[in-house]
């Protein structure tokens, strides 16, 4: 039935209850003392964001020079959905058995994966979800796969240690988890890791993957990683991505990681 609604994909606007009504909800605080001026300031900020018919439906006095607002309005901006290019991880997720089989068929060894929660980050639940036997949401983790040799270095691992271990274990893939993002501490830490890997000359020999609830594939690419995985990632997605990449790079990898290194 909703075929009745003719959405023009080049100028998609927010939708409340009528096509192109542009309705959005906003909330924020301003360092302005509660009162009519504060409300007016909130309106103007919303207007600058492109809202029309701005309605400050709620203003709370936060004490001191602070006011909290909830605002509704019609956003006049639109997005051209036909022109979006979303960097996507090409994961054509394989099942557990299928994947083990795939690796056995294409590679004569296990894939070595080294993972850690680096920097000051101690949130291991996410990386454990990917690595541990137990896995996540009913999906087994990498440790359970016969095709992987999985090393989980745990929490608060310095980048130096991770890189050293990756070299020592001749890793195919390095997995980094970053959960704390306050003041962009993860950006600094991830950039440092890539720099270090480059300095050690291993950046192109291994797959570098980063994950965490605030990580997107796009951001990962920007920072020089091969892939980024966000909230709700399943171990099989990561496993499939790694396996396909490793198989693809198999020859080259063999060449650049000779026995004597």
């Amino acid at each position: 039935m909703s075929g009745n609604l003719q959405v023009g994909l080049t100028r998609v606007m927010a939708y409340g209850d009528t096509l192109n009504d542009g309705k959005v909800q906003l909330s924020f605080s301003l360092p302005v003392r509660y009162g009519p001026e504060a409300i007016e300031a909130a309106k103007q900020l919303a207007a600058k964001m492109g809202l029309e018919d701005v309605d400050v439906v709620c203003a709370h006095d936060l004490g001191g020079p602070f006011t909290f607002f909830i605002v509704y309005g019609k956003c006049r901006h639109s997005v051209d959905v036909t022109a979006l290019s979303v960097p996507r991880i090409a994961i054509d997720s394989m099942g557990f058995d299928e994947l083990n089989e795939f690796v056995r068929a294409h590679l004569d060894r296990k894939i070595v994966v080294v993972a850690a929660c680096t920097g000051s980050d101690a949130h291991t639940v996410g990386i454990d979800a990917i690595m541990n036997m137990k896995g996540f949401a009913g999906e087994p983790g990498l440790e359970r796969y016969s095709c992987f040799e999985a090393h989980n270095l745990g929490a608060q691992v310095p980048n130096e240690t991770l890189v050293a271990e990756a070299i020592r274990l001749r890793a195919d893939a390095v997995l980094v988890s970053q959960v704390v993002t306050q003041k962009n501490v993860h950006i600094a830490n991830l950039t440092a890791l890539v720099d270090l890997a480059e300095a050690e000359g291993i950046r192109d020999d291994m797959i570098f993957i980063v994950g965490g609830p605030r990580i997107s594939h796009e951001l990962a690419l920007e920072l020089g990683f091969d892939a980024g995985f966000g909230a709700g990632t399943l171990p099989c997605q990561v496993a499939s991505f790694i396996a396909r990449q490793v198989v693809k790079n198999a020859h080259r990898t063999d060449a650049v990681l000779p026995e004597e290194r």
Binding site: M1, G16, D17, T18, V57
Partner: protein, 529 residues
């Protein structure tokens, strides 16, 4: 009964309400209304509009009225023409083209008197039967669906759509069903209840709601049937059987398989200033149609608390529920089809407001154990703080599942701002599903301290309701309404909209549907006469 209420008082309340209802029905059955007669012609199959857009039922009934034939019932007048070889629809079309007046003079003036009443009435029989069959078909179809998909788990999730445009409403309804809603109510445009006709066709322009038209019913019903198939749940459809066209909408809803209809014995009187006599007559007949169509009615006691205080006036809600129950019985509605209304409207700032809400909700459940209670969310104390509102809705949902409500009208976090946006409804459904799931068995788990705050409150409300019913019985319901007993609003029998559409029945007044329905619903034919 979790509240350990005094059963004697409850029985006295029921007895009082029965007496009040008998009096109301007696008066209702002494009259007919233009809208009842329009409903009759609709049930006979009349539909469509004339060249200037006036619905044919109006055209026809107006014509009868001009000819002074309404007091005997439109059916009689139609029958006479049908006996002469026309279909009811042709009768209406003839009226629209202005020719009926001509034929009228020609054929029936005097002539009709000659036709014996039995023969003319018999001529209408196939149309009466067809109308009823159409309703029965709806009922059967619903039963099929319910057999297929099940009845769903109570409290059922009820949400409204109100874009003003039936096609946007469909979009919103589909999304709601996808999210998990069980029931979709299409809210009516603000002014429709005061229109003395039912708009026609698909409509895309309404304010605060969408016009209730038969075509709109059909469009939404079709969409919800598709949604039922997609979700594997039977998605129920609701509209408003109220306002000046209450009986017609009852008929339209019966045809188009609406599953629930808002129908209150006093709402129109109090909140729309519709004449009292008109309303009582209309609701009496409307509810018979609802009953036959196996529709669950939703009453409107919740509305009292939007103008009156929810603590001070809680007893008026209960008193009104007793009255609605008694009146609904008289129209043949089964107790398990009486969606008596009440609401979570206590000022959230009141200490222990949650306990009082629980007491009120449990009270309704204990007193009306079979009723598919309709529980309304906070509206009055909602503000622009959508976060606060979302939490109030969660507390409401918790009371709903704990006290075993049947129909949970989900609150919208944007209640104080606008009619719901697509995500507001989604969030409301998720809120309810979370709370219902997390506290599914809470009601069975807990009991209330004897003589504690909750039980004491419940007993107090019951005792005040009892006093109010005694008084209402003394005064008669019109007297109680004039006194402002409900919602703090006072109305007089000789005022209000639509009074001019009330007509005293003549002795041989005939409404074949009323007769058949009384019969089919097992109602005592002389009750209230």
């Amino acid at each position: 009964m979790k509240l350990d209420l005094d059963r004697g008082i409850i029985e006295e309340c029921r007895a009082c309400a029965r007496a009040i209802a008998d009096e109301v029905v007696r008066e209702a059955r002494a009259v007919t209304t233009t809208s009842i007669e329009r409903a009759v012609v609709r049930l006979l199959g009349v539909d469509g509009v004339d060249s200037s857009g006036v619905p044919l039922p109006n055209v026809l009934v107006d014509e009868f009225r001009r000819a002074n034939r309404l007091a005997g019932g439109a059916a009689q007048a139609v029958a006479e023409l049908v006996a002469l070889g026309m279909t009811p629809q042709q009768v209406a079309e003839t009226a629209a083209s202005g020719e009926l007046r001509a034929r009228w003079c020609e054929d029936t003036e005097g002539g009709a008197e000659a036709l014996d009443a039995y023969r003319t009435r018999a001529a209408l029989e196939p149309y009466v039967e067809a109308g009823l069959a159409r309703i029965r078909a709806s009922v059967e179809r619903r039963d099929e669906f319910l057999g297929l998909y099940g009845h769903g788990q109570e409290p059922l999730l009820y949400v409204i759509v109100a874009t003003g445009n039936i096609y946007e409403d469909v979009v919103q309804a589909e999304a709601a069903a996808h999210a998990g809603a069980d029931i979709i109510a299409v809210i009516r445009s603000t002014a429709q209840s005061l229109l003395d006709y039912v708009p026609y066709g698909a409509t895309t322009e309404g304010y605060g709601g969408t016009f209730a038209t038969q075509e709109n019913f059909r469009i939404m019903r079709r969409a919800l049937d598709e949604a039922s198939a997609a979700t594997g749940r039977y998605i129920r459809l609701v509209n408003y059987c109220s306002g000046l066209c209450m009986p017609e909408i009852a008929a339209m809803g019966a045809f188009e398989r609406l599953d629930m209809m808002l129908n209150d014995s006093m709402y129109g009187i109090l909140f729309r200033d519709i004449n009292l006599r008109r309303t009582f007559a209309d609701q009496y007949f409307s509810r018979m149609i609802n009953a036959y169509a196996d529709v669950v009615i939703n009453t409107g006691e919740d509305n009292y608390l939007t103008t009156a205080d929810a603590v001070d006036e809680a007893h008026t809600v209960l008193a009104s529920q007793f009255i609605n129950e008694a009146l609904a019985r008289r129209s043949g509605l089964r107790p398990d089809r009486m969606g008596l209304g009440h609401a979570f409207e206590i000022d959230p700032a009141l200490p222990n407001s949650f306990l009082y809400e629980l007491a009120h909700a449990q009270l309704a459940r204990d007193i009306f154990p079979e009723a598919p209670l309709k529980y309304m969310p906070p509206t009055k104390h909602m503000t622009g703080d959508v976060f606060r509102g979302y939490v109030m809705n969660a507390m409401f949902n918790l009371v709903g599942v704990t006290s075993g409500q049947s129909i949970q009208l989900l609150g919208m976090l944007t209640e104080a701002i606008h009619t719901p946006h697509i995500q507001d409804r989604y969030l409301a459904v998720k809120n309810a599903k979370y709370v219902f799931g997390a506290a599914r068995d809470l009601g069975n788990e807990i009991s209330f301290a004897p003589g504690g705050i909750i039980q004491t409150r419940a007993a107090e409300v019951l005792s005040k309701a009892h006093a109010a019913l005694l008084r209402a019985n003394e005064l008669g319901l019109p007297g109680a309404i004039a006194e402002g007993m409900f919602g703090g609003i006072s109305r007089r029998s000789d005022q209000g909209r639509g009074l001019d559409g009330v007509i005293e029945r003549v002795a041989d007044y005939w409404n074949p549907f009323e007769d058949r329905l009384r019969d089919e619903l097992g109602l005592n034919p002389s009750e209230g006469v």
